[in-house]
């Protein structure tokens, strides 16, 4: 994206001249305080909102507002917004059927995916009967099963217990897609993303290695963040190596 600007009607600019390039296969963490424009950035990339000015492209094709782009997946912040089918199986199959797979092909892919996640027993469950962690994993699976090239994840680790959080970290680490992950959980981003972009007040304030950005205490403090605990020098070592 080049010189991207956006504002909601009758409001001030939410994004002011944002420039960002992401290479294929990169995992980029987007950090910023509430209201900094992270979710708005994702909505623009997904073609849900149209920018006021600037240029947006994905895989060298301009982003067209309102058009479905099968190479882009978006995991929303609230899994209930994403799990809209009567059963888990139907939800995972929703995107596949829209891509043109037959029911038989979709069923086979769903079964394989649920087995990989060790969640085969959830196949016939209604989504509202799932736990928070299960909802989150299934909402991510519903997007990833469509094999997008780029995935936008908006606070994917929120409301996960430590076990589900660890499972998600391993899952994202092992994925080959280009990931953009917006999150307040700095330790989560340190473990999943090699690159971090700090947004505040609609502008990119820092862009570089996750450890370098998040290890810069004055930078983090000036934008309302604390240095992640794992980057704080310890007098007595107490972390497992």
């Amino acid at each position: 994206m080049k010189n991207l600007e956006f504002s909601f009607p009758l409001q001030e600019l939410v994004l002011k001249g944002v420039d960002l390039d992401v290479s294929p296969g990169e995992k980029v963490g987007i950090i910023g305080p509430n209201g900094s424009g992270k979710t708005t950035l994702f909505l623009l990339l997904a073609g849900i909102l149209a920018p006021d000015s600037g240029f947006l492209s994905i895989l060298d094709s301009p982003v067209r507002t309102g058009r479905f782009n099968s190479s882009l997946g978006f995991v929303f912040q609230n899994p209930d917004d994403q799990l809209f089918c009567p059963t888990v199986k139907d939800d995972l199959g929703f995107g596949l059927l829209n891509l043109g797979y037959s029911q038989v092909e979709a069923d086979s892919m769903i079964e394989a995916y649920l087995t990989r996640l060790d969640m085969s027993d959830l196949s016939q469950r209604p989504p509202h009967n799932l736990s928070g962690g299960e909802k989150r994993m299934i909402s991510i699976a519903g997007v990833m099963i469509m094999t997008p090239t780029i995935v936008l994840l908006d606070e994917p680790e929120s409301s996960l217990d430590s076990r589900a959080r660890r499972q998600l970290i391993e899952f994202l680490r092992n994925s080959s897609e280009t990931l953009l992950i917006a999150s307040h959980d700095l330790e989560f981003l340190l473990e999943t993303c090699e690159r971090a972009v700090l947004i505040d007040n609609g502008r990119i304030c820092a862009d570089g290695s996750s450890r370098k950005i998040m290890g810069d205490e004055p930078l983090m403090n000036s934008h309302g963040f604390e240095k992640p605990h794992s980057l704080v020098p310890h007098v007595e070592p107490h972390h497992k190596i």
Partner: protein, 249 residues
């Protein structure tokens, strides 16, 4: 028994719906005993637990009690029994019994239809029945999110109680709280519907690929499904023919 669960949904729903309609048309009291017999046989064949049926009957039975009382007390005709000022009419009692039998039989068939239809793949099957896609999607979404709205309302009620709200006798105070709660739920629902629609679009809903490129491997219903369709249609037609015959006799 999995007779109904193995019956193809796109044949089962129209067949059972037709049966329900034909049962609802029965008026003659000589044919009335047929209805609970048919309903009972089909219910036993469905393998559903009796406790499910009884739990689903609770609300309709309360309604039927009021309807029956009205029919028995205010119908015209011969007096059956008198309790002081309260007079039960014979024709009213017959009408009340017929109504209850008919309604409960139809509801039983409806319960069999709903509880033996797997949710998975329901949307695709309903669309194959030429029901407008948008209506199917609205119905499925309503069923999915009505629970969410119910949970939200429940949480709001708890939050109100924890902040000391006691409904009391004042209707004004009650409305003063219920109306904003309903408005909040409506706005939340609208906002969530926008987000859900965006999530659906992000997964290809309404795209050209979804409309044109779909390779729908339509699974042909089994012979057993067609046989059951024929039997159910034949039974429905028989009921209607019997009703017309008895009426004109």
């Amino acid at each position: 028994m999995r007779v109904f669960e193995n019956w193809d949904t796109s044949l089962k729903i129209p067949a059972l719906f037709l049966l329900m309609m034909s049962m609802a048309l029965i008026r003659d009291q000589h044919l009335m005993p047929l209805l609970p017999c048919i309903a009972a046989i089909l219910f036993i064949a469905s393998g559903l637990p009796l406790s499910l049926l009884l739990s689903r009957f609770r609300a309709p039975v309360v309604f039927l009690l009021f309807v029956s009382a009205f029919l028995m007390l205010f119908s015209e005709g011969d007096t059956l029994v008198r309790f002081g000022p309260v007079v039960l009419k014979l024709q009213g009692v017959i009408l009340a019994v017929n109504t209850c039998v008919r309604v409960l039989s139809v509801i039983t068939i409806g319960i069999i239809m709903i509880h033996t239809t797997p949710l998975s793949g329901l949307s695709a099957k309903l669309k194959r029945m030429l029901i407008p896609h948008i209506l199917v999607d609205i119905g499925i979404m309503t069923g999915r999110y009505i629970m969410v709205i119910g949970e939200d309302y429940s949480k709001m009620k708890t939050a109100r109680k924890l902040r000391g709200f006691v409904p009391g006798k004042s209707i004004v105070r009650r409305f003063g709280v219920i109306v904003p709660t309903a408005a909040t739920l409506l706005i939340k629902g609208f906002q969530q519907s926008e987000r859900v629609f965006n999530a659906m679009r992000m997964r290809g809903y309404g795209s050209i690929a979804a409309d044109e490129g779909r390779n729908d491997a339509f699974e042909k219903p089994s012979t057993a499904s067609f046989l059951m369709l024929l039997l159910t249609v034949a039974l429905s037609v028989l009921l209607i023919v019997l009703e017309i015959t008895v009426e004109t006799a």
